[in-house]
Amino acid sequence: MPATPRSQLAPVEAARDTDVIIRAEGVEKTYDTGKLRVPALRGVDLTVGRGEMVAIMGPSGCGKTTLLNCLSGLDTIDKGTILIAGTDLSKLSDNARTEFRAREMGFVFQFYNLLPVLTAVENVELPLLVSGVRPKEARQRALEVLAQVGLERWANHKPAELSGGQRQRVTIARALVNRPAIVWADEPTGDLDSQTADEVMALMRELNQTNRQTFVVVTHDPRIGGMCDRIIRMQDGQIVSDGTAA
């Protein structure tokens, strides 16, 4: 793999010494729908080190997705602080925050990961294009990453022409193409049968280990959790246990 232009990753570089990449303290979040107030996070404290692969588990509705969205700066919090590589994302402008995401983060969402109107390779190269990589180089790197996830033959197909597992692998390729410091994955195997889920998970684990990237994976599947370094369990918007996988 060719070397990444690391100079772009200055904030992460600065935080390297501490080796803590995610630090959250006293995070609270309440959804206010007008009629109803739903406390989704009720004082979460969390630290994740660089290169860790963390699983967040817990029953449906306990706040896993909310936590992920708040940590990654996609959503706002009501109380507490979150530092990503030492940077408080909530203090940045929307544009700066967006740029930070584009450079430092990769996402695998629960639903809606790919643009149906673009081909696999076009989907994968998007994060590179938004961070200003030249189109030629972006295409080449996207193809390389697609090859890594075993989909080079499907590069020019649209998502509708791919199977569920293939689609999720394209998503992972997209999440990894810009060599992000952190990859957020929300139920990445939710829609997949167990064998495909294992393959996808194995792929993520492999990439985590070769690239020393941080992975935060939300799942309710214990087998998936078992493949991670550490499992954080949540209930009713709080972390109830935090430990290495059994």
Binding site: T65, G106, F107, Q110, Y112, N113, V117, V130, G132, P135
Partner: protein
């Protein structure tokens, strides 16, 4: 209006009401059979008010256009008719010396006959139940001057009427409504018409000077009456005149015992009098017996012309409105496709729980009918509003001639409403059927339908049907010499063939591209090539619409299937501005992915812009054609004289009256016999036809610049032709209106047509024609050696030299002295001076440039009005963009969230939407502009067109107007995308990502 396209409005209304009833019936039936379905449909309409209003706009457009066109017809019909009735009042027929067939016969200036004829006629008609009044009338054109104000009119009509016969004609009243007793007026008193009074700024008590045989006579204004045939106004727009008792008029005009016509009033009022015209004419003709006089149906003829004129306008507005209606139909279809897309999961669910496909169709139909009934109502009301605006503009253009009174006839509204409902219903029915076809599983999971490489059997069947229909239409068209079916057939056939061939796995892109390029070639091939490859058939104004629809369909298909090419250009731009590349990427991908929507929107814009560009281009080139430098043959001022009393030679008259002749560079004389008092026929044929005949003097020939379009063999220059004509009284030159050409023929069937030469020819053989004077009975043969270039638009007719003219004609209807002024002369002021100083001779002088300007101002005004009306269609395209853009934001909410998460800035999301809309608009506007320009260029430079109207090979493009249309379309498109784009940019990321 009583007729439309020759069909009685009453029948049209009844047929439409039946169809309207059927639509209502379907709605009622759905309601009774499945109230639930009906209610679901209605509820859907209420769910989204913003969307509902866009839908209503789309659905109302057809009705609006139809209502506006019909109401414009009503307005013109009413306005022209009431002007006609105001002028003619109780006069229904005129009796004049026999001078031609029914459609042409008229009062001829300068022709009088004994008053006794009227007395005899009255006696013979006494006791006739149909006719209640017979009145002898004397009219003569005279110059008049108001010494107090120094205002003059070289040609007003002096009228003498028999006061004893005035009763049945409604008497004479002044503008305040007081009765005027003509016999009680003092000697030398006249009743002045309103228009003449205004032009002379004359009031009651003023003494005016009237010139008879060049001698001044004083008359005093005893009263001012409204304009009518009795006060000297024979046609709208004239200067009017004054009236006095018949014996006094005969004395003043030195025509004792003479009259010009006999006015006849039918029993009944002003409007219904005309109904008895046929019976009255029979009675008059019986009474006249063998006497050489004839009855002229003036009122009936004028009313018919009003109806016809109104009809022409309605047809123009309807045919041109078809573009907007077609775009509106596309919009309706598009709206339904979008509605269906939005409700796909619900529809799938409904199907899964047992709803039949037919019931889905019925649900959409129910909803559509509800929309339809309401929006057609709004459309009809707005259509009347638009028609009233049109009436306002027309009033400004032709107010001098007609008082335009906005009028809406209830029958037109019923027709517009029910036609609008029926057209929209048909569209809705087809759309509903189309959108209710869906795969249940895919629908529930909202997965897009896959694009199959090989099409199903349905395509094969439709394709084969299309091929058969296309071939049939071509055959019918070729067989009956009608371009309309042939051109539809030849366009339908290749497209259908392409659809059929898809069944066999051939690539759709290749098939459709080849087919649509073929269709475009058919329509856009230059004339010369076209005639070699395809049969030459005849068509009319409807071809404008057919060509537009077919070319736009083909061009849109070509664009859609090759959009990758167009979008890669946009992509290149994106590369140059690499910061925007991601925005461009998504902007380009979406429209490519939904070809149907994109295609429909492109087609809408293309269609409207095509029609606008065509109109603007034709407008520009015609205006140039008829108002170009050559229009007045190099002359600056035309001094026209109708009076027949002697006048010294023009140059001498100018000098004697104290006109500054140092400003005159040259003069020439043209004496004209109008078509209604001349006879002409091909030598050796029997039937006399009519044509304007001019006798021109040597000076006129010498100083005119008169290009000849078609020269007879033996003459190798224009100068040779005119020199020959000057010397030889056996020769003549004629203008292009006498030629037969495939383009629209103007004039009445009794107009002379020159045989043996065609519009578009470049040379001709000399052709012999015979000309004659019905009054003197003399005839003569002349040889036509050239056809005048129609660029000379201010001078028309057949030209012979003075010697030939004098041999045949006793006197001209009018004489025009053309003047070339020295450089630097103010022609308008100089014309005024000539007019004032030569008032005694009744000379009306005008700057030719000003005349041309005035004429083109009116026709340009009408063309602009029509263009404005057509531009209404742009609303459709803009609404479509709006609907799509709003819908896209809703549809792509989660995708937007995802893009924002992976690093799209807000501005990038907004830019993506804007680029997408702009690209679609540009493609539509661009293809419409290009098609319009190519087609109008072909038209303007075709033999057929240049032959009959002489457009040079130069083709003018109204860049300004086109830029305006394009600018409006683009700006409106951007605006329509801007609001949803902003909405899209502010989508909260986490929220958007969460829900399915």
């Amino acid at each position: 209006m009583e007729n439309l396209f020759g069909i009685p409005m009453q029948s049209i209304m009844i047929a439409l009401l039946v169809a309207f009833g059927l639509c209502l019936g379907v709605g009622g039936w759905i309601y009774l059979r499945h109230r639930i379905i009906f209610r679901m449909g209605i509820r859907n309409a209420r769910r989204r008010p913003a969307q509902t209003s866009l839908i209503v706009i789309g659905l109302m457009l057809s009705t609006l256009i139809i209502a506006a066109a019909l109401t414009t017809g009503d307005t013109l019909n009413y306005s022209i008719k009431s002007t006609v009735l105001d002028i003619l009042e109780h006069t229904d027929e005129l009796v004049v010396p026999a001078n031609g067939d029914d459609a042409e016969a008229n009062v001829q200036p300068g022709v009088t006959f004994p008053q006794q004829v009227a007395a005899d006629l009255e006696a013979a008609l006494a006791g006739d139940a149909v006719i209640d009044g017979v009145m002898p009338v004397l009219t003569q054109p005279v110059p008049i001057l108001n010494p107090k104000t120094q205002l003059s009119e070289p040609m007003v009509t002096a009228v003498g009427i028999d006061p004893a016969a005035l009763g049945p004609f409604g008497g004479l009243r002044d503008i305040e409504g007081n009765d005027i007793e003509l016999t009680a007026l003092p000697e030398g008193a006249v009743v002045l018409g309103k228009t003449t009074a205004e032009r002379l700024d004359a009031v009651v008590g003023d003494t005016l000077t009237v010139y008879v045989e060049n001698e001044p006579h004083d008359v005093t204004v005893a009263a001012i009456a409204s304009d009518s045939i009795l006060t000297g106004m024979q046609d709208p727009g004239q200067a009017g005149g004054f009236v006095m008792a018949l014996d006094r008029a005969q004395a003043l005009l030195e025509l004792p015992g003479q009259i010009s016509f006999i006015a006849v009033s039918n029993a009944g009022g002003v409007a219904d009098g005309a109904e008895a015209t046929d019976a009255a004419v029979t009675a008059i003709e019986q009474a006249l017996g063998e006497a050489p006089y004839q009855a002229v149906r003036v009122k009936q003829r004028a009313l018919d012309m009003a109806e016809e004129g109104a009809n022409v306008f309605t047809s123009i507005f309807l045919v041109l409105g078809l573009f907007s209606i077609a775009a509106g139909i596309l919009l309706i279809f598009l709206i339904f496709v979008l509605l269906a897309a939005e409700r796909k999961p619900e529809m799938g669910m409904a199907r899964a729980v047992g709803m039949k496909r037919r019931q889905l169709t019925e649900m959409f139909l129910a909803e559509g009918i509800a929309y339809d009934l309401v929006s057609a109502m709004i459309g009809a009301a707005l259509g009347v509003g638009v028609a009233f605006v049109i009436a306002g503009v027309m009033g400004r253009l032709v107010g001098e001639f007609f008082d335009i009174v906005p009028t809406a006839h209830w029958r037109s509204l019923v027709v517009a409403y029910s036609l609008g409902v029926v057209v929209t219903f048909a569209t809705i029915a087809i759309s509903s059927w189309r959108v209710s076809r869906l795969n249940i599983v895919r629908a529930i999971r909202d997965i897009p339908e896959p694009q199959r490489q090989r099409a199903g059997n349905r395509w094969l069947i439709f394709g084969i049907l299309g091929v058969v229909l296309g071939a049939l239409l071509m055959w019918v068209g070729a067989d009956t010499d009608k371009l309309f079916p042939y051109s539809i057939g030849i366009s339908l056939l290749p497209l259908s063939l392409a659809a059929a061939l898809r069944r066999f796995g051939l690539p759709a892109r290749l098939l459709y591209t080849v087919a649509s390029l073929f269709v475009l070639t058919y329509w856009l091939l230059p004339d010369s090539l076209h005639q070699k490859l395809f049969p030459v058939l005849s068509g009319g104004m409807e071809m404008f619409f057919v060509s537009g629809v077919m070319m736009v369909a083909a061009a849109t298909m070509a664009i859609i299937w090759n959009a990758e090419v167009a979008t890669s250009l946009v992509g290149l731009l994106g590369r140059t501005f690499s910061r925007w590349l991601p925005a461009v990427k998504t902007a380009v991908a979406y429209p490519l992915a939904s070809k149907g929507r994109t295609g429909m929107t492109i087609a809408m814009f293309s269609l409207i812009v095509f029609s606008l560009v065509m109109m603007a281009t034709i407008d520009r080139n015609f205006t140039e054609l008829f108002s170009g430098e050559e229009a007045a043959a190099g002359w600056d001022i035309a001094a026209t004289r109708v009076a027949s009393d002697p006048m010294p030679a023009f140059d001498q008259a100018l000098a004697e009256s104290g006109v500054d002749t140092s400003k005159v560079a040259a003069t020439g004389r043209l004496r004209q016999v109008a078509s209604y008092s001349s006879e002409i026929r091909m030598a050796g044929t029997q039937e006399w036809k009519r044509y304007t005949i001019n006798g021109v003097d040597a000076a006129f020939i010498e100083h005119s610049h008169l290009p000849v379009k078609i020269r007879a063999t033996g003459y190798d220059s224009d100068a040779a032709i005119w020199e020959a004509l000057r010397q030889n009284p056996d020769l003549a030159v004629i203008d292009g209106f006498a030629l037969e050409g495939p383009t629209v023929q103007v004039g009445s069937p009794s107009n002379f047509i020159l045989q043996g030469v065609q519009a578009g020819d470049t040379t001709m053989e000399p052709i012999q024609v015979e000309i004659g004077d019905p009054l003197s009975g003399r005839t003569r043969t002349v040889t036509v050696i050239g056809v005048l270039d129609p660029k000379v638009s201010m001078i028309f007719g057949l030209f012979v030299n003075d010697a030939a003219f004098d041999q045949v004609f006793a006197q001209p209807n009018q004489t025009t002295y053309y003047v070339q002024t020295q450089p630097g002369t103010d022609d308008v002021a100089f014309a005024k001076e000539i007019k004032a100083k030569l008032i005694a001779y009744g000379v009306q002088a005008e700057s030719l440039e000003k005349l041309i300007e005035q004429e083109t101002a009116i026709s340009r005004g009408f063309l602009l009005l029509i263009e404005g009306f057509m531009a209404l269609g742009l609303v459709v395209g803009i609404a479509a963009l709006g609907v799509i853009a709003f819908r896209s934001v809703v549809e792509r909410r989660q995708q937007i969230g995802m893009l924002r998460a992976i690093g799209y800035q807000r501005s990038m999301v907004a830019a993506s939407f804007l680029i997408e809309s702009t690209m679609i608009t540009v493609l539509g506007v661009g293809s419409g502009t290009i098609l319009g320009l190519i087609l109008s260029r072909n038209l303007m430079t075709s033999d057929e067109f240049t032959g009959s109207s002489g457009a040079a090979a130069t083709f003018l493009v109204p860049w300004g107007t086109i830029a305006l249309f394009v600018g409006i379309a683009l700006a409106a498109g951007l605006l329509m995308a801007y609001i949803p784009a902003r909405k899209a940019a502010s989508v909260p990321i986490a929220d958007a990502l969460r829900y399915e």
